[in-house]
């Protein structure tokens, strides 16, 4: 699972195990071109050194392999995915797109290994969007075949569990949420779904970019039919729920409820639905960007009528998806960017 958390956690001088990671959890993290595994129980372990800085990585579902985005250190970047064993041995690699000088993707910034042989990539084509590619890995994982390609616009995208819907946050001056149905239109001759009509969540219509902000990204529920995001509008924090509704004019219905109980001097940096189906929020202090609290919104996913939902402070252990970690390895402090994380079932709430 690709970590889209923006939660920033700083940890100083932690010899041995990474205390910022809750018990039973591990993180796949990079420092430049170096890929590491950070664990609550063990010392950080260096996996491999890639040819260039790694932007996206994901564990295989069985945690035995790692896929990461790569680009050869050539002057004309072609995006690739490398499959490696957790011990660091490269198993295979496949090209995602042609070189950008011929109109290919510029970089891969999202990668999720969804099923044993299914992997998806989110590639950046230009400043305003890119393509989601769904890949079927060969049996030995030495290569992959593209199953589907679909255009998306915006950024910070979240792909539904079924991989049918891609939800993205809108452009800078309009924090609308867009949902792309990758199966709504037939692919063109290149196998790419590009002519799709997409749902755009209209907002208040205000043109003041500072008055509304999507906070903490987008997250789907387990069924992949309901999308959650936290938006800040006129200093009021609102939980926006976008639910698949064929009867609705655009196929999706939107409801909003005010969130109460979150410190006003913090900002929401990540949202996720935990294994118990509870919507979780992580916040950071506005002034520093340092992680502060985790909240649960137990009533958020109910179909309660519009009103408000109260955020409850959760255990700090729920802050398990930091974006950055500073960890002392040997005698050197290293700054890691966490790209994926998982917790064993027994360790989850």
């Amino acid at each position: 699972m690709v970590s889209k958390s923006l939660f920033l956690m700083i940890l100083f001088a932690v010899p041995g195990a990474v205390e910022a990671i809750p018990h039973g959890c591990s993180a796949l993290a990079v420092e430049g071109a170096d890929l590491w595994v950070l664990s609550a129980e063990r010392e950080p372990r260096h996996v491999l050194t890639a040819e260039r800085q790694i932007l996206a990585a994901s564990w295989s579902p069985d945690r035995r392999e790692i896929a990461f985005s790569a680009s050869p250190p050539t002057s004309d970047v072609a995006t690739e995915v490398v499959i490696a064993e957790v011990g660091g041995q490269v198993v295979g690699r496949f090209k995602v797109d042609r070189a950008q000088s011929t109109g290919g993707l510029r970089f891969i910034d999202g990668l999720e290994w969804r099923e044993p042989r299914t992997l998806l990539t989110l590639g950046d084509q230009g400043p305003h969007g890119g393509y989601m590619d769904v890949w079927r890995l060969s049996k030995d994982h030495t290569g992959a075949e593209r199953l589907r390609r679909a255009l998306f616009l915006g950024g910070g995208c979240a792909v539904s569990p079924s991989m049918r819907y891609v939800a993205c946050a809108g452009e800078e001056r309009d924090d609308a949420v867009m949902i792309f149905d990758t199966l709504a239109s037939p692919p063109d001759e290149d196998g790419s779904v590009e002519d799709q009509h997409y749902f755009v969540m209209s907002t208040s219509g205000s043109q003041d970019e500072f008055e509304r902000t999507v906070e903490g990204g987008l997250t789907w529920d387990a069924k992949g039919l309901t999308l959650y995001t936290v938006r800040l509008e006129h200093s009021k924090r609102v939980l926006t729920t976008i639910e698949r509704n064929p009867a609705a004019a655009e196929g999706w219905s939107v409801s909003e409820r005010e969130i109460l109980g979150i410190d006003s001097d913090s900002r929401v940096v990540s949202t996720e639905v935990d294994s118990h189906g509870t919507l979780m929020l992580s916040t950071a202090w506005k002034s520093e960007g340092i992680g502060s609290k985790a909240y649960s919104l137990p009533g958020a996913m109910s179909t309660a009528p519009a009103g408000s939902v109260v955020a409850h402070v959760a255990s700090p252990a729920e802050l398990r998806r930091p974006e950055l970690l500073k960890v002392v390895v040997g005698n050197k402090e290293r700054t890691f960017r966490v790209l994926d994380s998982y917790c064993s079932t027994s360790s989850q709430r």
Binding site: T74, G103, R106, E172
Partner: protein, 472 residues
């Protein structure tokens, strides 16, 4: 007998005396007499608090002269005043000079610092054993207003025409400094003839703030710096030291100002000065193209030295992932031309126009494209529509320009403010004029606008480049 009469008689009796104790006018007689028994007499230099450090006088050009050696600030001009000591005290206390209030009559120790080098101690050597008027016979004679010079400090000399009345600094009595020159040679200048008025030179006994720029905290952008809207970017650490010229002063909350008030902003001081008189603060700037001079706005406090921040081009500690973006060129694409009515237009649909489908699709991700008819077409994601523009337009509304335009994150985790001038290693200067989609352009990532067509980004290797912040 009045004080005046007392003085006037003295020259007659002591015609050789070079010094004069000038006492005030007759109404002070009672007071003078009453004080005779209460005037404390310093028994030594230590008692007087003399420093005996040769003055280092600098004319500040604002009516004041600073003695940087002894941390004193002097009134450059003497005032010729009548009245009595309380009048002189009042004069000084009401003085506003060099932007300072808090002036007062000097004490003995302070006066001594104005004597010629080597004569400082003379003030206590029997009082009046020398004269600044006569080389080799330097000295200072002093008295409070109610003290007879003969009886106290000038045995054998009597009353000369000129002299100083000074405060002892040890009691309640004050005298008046009279015509002590402030420029070398600091022999006392001729005061002219005796007069009923006295000359008063006030001294400033306020606090002195020294501001230095912390050399251990160079001007640089810290690692993982984040920038919120309208916040400042480059920062220098200021070390503050507050003294009563010599002695640390604690418990004062200082206020600072820069000579570039629209460009610089202060963070702190957040606490009062500590027992050692120290505190610290930060000054942040929008613009590194000139220096900042920092001083204090705290009342009764003057700044020496002022803090001078030489802003250096601040290089981000973290290199930036540097990508390239372009404006599509329709001529790069193949396929049939299709009528413009196929697509949704934000306002007027171009009539009679045709465009290649692949070109129009790619505009959605690139943001803009130029048709074979040289029209600039842009896409508005939030409304799913195209429109004709006069140029490839950035999010700030200006035309994207090769060699100038760069796109930065200004919302999710911004580190470069919009409008900032930056300098990229190997690429040179750019201006943050554009943005990208949320989270695909985040933090330490810069997207460089490189012109028209796919060829514009040919050979681009997405390097990690160092970035120097210039100004905004």
């Amino acid at each position: 007998m009045s004080c005046r009469k007392l003085i006037r008689c003295l020259p007659l009796a002591l015609v050789v005396a070079p010094l004069c104790i000038l006492v005030t006018a007759s109404p002070l007689l009672a007071q003078c007499q009453a004080r005779i028994s209460t005037v404390p007499v310093p028994g030594s230099i230590t008692d007087a608090g003399a420093t005996c450090v040769t003055a280092a006088l600098v004319d500040l050009g604002n009516g004041t002269v600073v003695d940087r050696a002894n941390h004193l600030l002097w009134d450059k001009e003497v005032a010729s005043l009548g009245g009595n000591v309380s009048d002189y005290e009042a004069y000084c206390s009401q003085l506003l000079l060099g932007g300072q209030t808090g002036w007062y009559l000097p004490d003995v120790a302070q006066l001594q610092t104005l004597l010629p080098p080597g004569t400082c101690q003379a003030v206590m050597d029997g009082c009046g054993t020398g004269s600044p008027d006569y080389p080799g016979f330097n000295g200072i004679m002093w008295s409070s207003s109610g003290v007879s010079p003969e009886s106290y400090y000038c045995p054998g000399y009597g009353c000369p025409y000129y002299g100083w009345l000074v405060a002892t600094g040890l009691g309640t009595d004050f005298g008046i400094l009279y015509y002590v020159p402030l420029t070398p040679p600091r022999n006392r200048v001729d005061a002219g003839t005796y007069a009923d008025s006295v000359s008063v030179r006030c001294v400033h006994g306020g606090l002195e703030l020294a501001i230095t720029v912390d050399p251990m905290n160079p001007v640089a952008v810290p690692a993982n710096a984040t920038l919120s809207m309208n916040s400042i970017f480059t920062q220098a650490h200021l070390l503050l030291k507050l003294t009563d010229y010599v002695i640390p002063v604690s418990g004062v909350l200082l206020a600072l100002r820069s000579d570039r008030p629209t460009l610089d902003q202060f963070v702190g001081p957040t606490r009062n000065t500590g027992v050692d008189g120290s505190a610290d603060a930060y000054v942040e700037t929008h613009d590194q193209t000139s220096n900042s001079t920092i001083d204090s706005t705290t009342p009764l406090l003057w700044t020496d030295p002022k803090g001078v921040v030489t802003w250096l081009p601040a290089k981000y500690v973290t290199p930036f992932y540097t990508t390239c973006y372009r404006t599509d060129l329709e001529s790069d694409f193949t396929g049939p031309f299709i009528a413009a009515t196929k697509w949704t237009w934000c306002s007027t649909t171009p009539t009679g126009r045709t465009y290649r489908a692949a070109f129009m699709k790619d505009i959605q991700t690139q943001g803009s494209g130029v048709s074979v008819l040289n029209e600039t077409i842009q896409y508005l994601t939030s409304r799913s529509c195209y429109y004709i523009a006069s140029c490839p337009t950035t999010s700030t509304g200006v035309c994207a320009t090769v060699g100038v335009t760069a796109a930065v994150d200004n919302k999710v985790s911004p580190v470069i403010p919009m409008g900032a001038a930056i300098d990229l290693d190997t690429l040179g200067g750019r201006v943050a004029q554009d943005t990208g989609s949320r989270k695909s352009l985040v933090g330490y990532h810069i997207d460089i606008y490189n012109g028209l067509g796919v060829a514009a980004c040919a050979g681009w290797s997405n390097p990690y480049l160092g970035v120097t912040f210039v100004h905004y």
